[in-house]
């Protein structure tokens, strides 16, 4: 004891033993603690991941909605940039559907405005770039629009530059339109814009309708063979403008003058129909057909 051998022996053996016993235990405890902390961390990470995923999904949905709203705002802004001709007002409408059901034989679209919004049959339907068609059938809250490219559509037009007149006839959704009754020798350039001539009383004068694609003077006919293309893809239109006459106040002087100038009606309660163009002859005559302007 005095020499301190036992103390040294105890240090070398007992302390070392304790160290070798405790050190792995400590490592195991530290590792376990670390594992536990990581586990907790991963649980938190998973929860955070789920939260972030949900947020991302929501943000994506919001972004899609915002993109759609921005596109809608752009389209509406473009639509509202269209200023109607004098004496007409515009009525915006959404396209609800295209041809619907087995009886939809004509090239038509359905819009969500009807007689409650002041719409009637034979009103021009337009987009900022040009004419889409005219109203064919009207219910209180919906209307069917006959498109310009339908086989039965006839619109009196004229070239914007040379003022050569003709009748724009639809040839179907996949074919270019035909400009009928353009006399031989009448000036009309390829690429010239065709605008409504206003002769049929349905479309006001000056609305762009189509662009001349081809002018041919082949064959012994009296008329040129003119093809025209639409100014844009009508089928993709989601919103349109319907042009209508504003309701006149009852005491408006113009109405009184018009009443005086107008010949008396044939019978009480009868209303005069606007003249429409005969499909074949292109002459104005009263007819209740679908396509004549």
């Amino acid at each position: 004891m005095r020499t301190g051998y036992l103390d040294t022996l105890a240090d070398v053996t007992g302390l070392e033993v304790s160290r070798w016993v405790l050190a792995p235990g400590k490592w195991a405890a530290d590792s376990a603690e670390l594992l536990f902390r990581r586990y907790i961390y991963f649980i938190g990470l998973r929860q955070e991941n789920e939260r972030l995923s949900a947020e991302l999904k929501e943000t994506r949905s919001e972004l899609a909605g915002a993109t759609e709203r921005a596109a809608l705002a752009g389209r509406l802004s473009e639509l509202m940039s269209f200023s109607p001709p004098e004496g007409w007002v515009r009525e915006g409408a959404r396209v609800v559907s295209h041809r619907l059901g087995p009886n939809a034989a004509l090239e038509t679209i359905m819009i969500d405005k009807g007689s409650r919004s002041g719409l009637a049959v034979n009103l021009p339907v337009v987009l900022p770039f040009g004419v889409v068609g005219k109203t064919l059938r009207v219910s209180p809250n919906a209307a069917v629009v006959l498109l310009v490219n339908d086989l039965n559509s006839r619109i009196p037009v004229m070239g914007q530059i040379h003022r050569t007149q003709g009748i724009l006839a639809g040839q179907g959704p996949d074919d270019p339109m035909e400009v009928q009754y353009v006399p031989q020798g009448a000036p009309l350039d390829e690429g010239e814009l065709l605008i409504t001539s206003g002769l049929g009383e349905v479309f006001p004068k000056g609305l762009p309708v189509a662009r001349v694609l081809k002018v041919e003077t082949t064959g012994p006919t009296l008329f040129q063979n003119v093809l025209a293309g639409p100014l844009s893809e009508i089928k993709t239109a989601e919103e349109v403008l319907v042009l209508k006459k504003p309701p006149l106040p009852p005491d408006a002087p113009a109405v009184e003058e018009e009443k005086e100038a107008r010949p008396p009606l044939e019978g009480k309660g009868k209303r005069s129909r606007p003249p429409v163009f005969d499909n074949k002859a292109g002459q104005a005559k009263p007819k209740s057909g679908p396509g004549g302007d």
């Binding site: 295209h98 619907l100 059901g101 219910s139 086989l151």
Partner: protein
Amino acid sequence: MLGMLWWLLVVTAGIIVQSQVPGVDFLAAGFVLALQEERWTKPLWFALAAILIQEGDGSLAFGSGLVWYGALAAMYFFGHYLFEARNFLFMILLGVCQGAMHILLSLTMASLQDWSVLPERLWLEAIVQAVVFPMEWGLLYIIYHNLPLSHARTV
């Protein structure tokens, strides 16, 4: 009440699908199913609703829908004396007849109104109508016979 809801659902779904497939009637299969499975009042109401919907949505003059559903009912009543009414082959035959009728009726009504229609499109629609009708009828038939209302009726 549940029965009414079912037929309302058939009409609503038919209108929605019709807006995606132009020129094809998706209410006809429901009408034939009503003729097969229900008393005379429900097919009558269904036909009335379908006629009004098709006439209103279409561009042909009034009468085409009436002739369309009238001819369909006539073909069904005539055919079910010769065939088993719930036979799928009978439905295929009805579909083919409808396809042919679509062309005939559209051309007739359009010419009566002095209109022009695209014949190639009519052919395409007729083929789609002939194919779609038996498939839609089969689908509606399966759903109808798995509805609680059909169980209640058989019990």
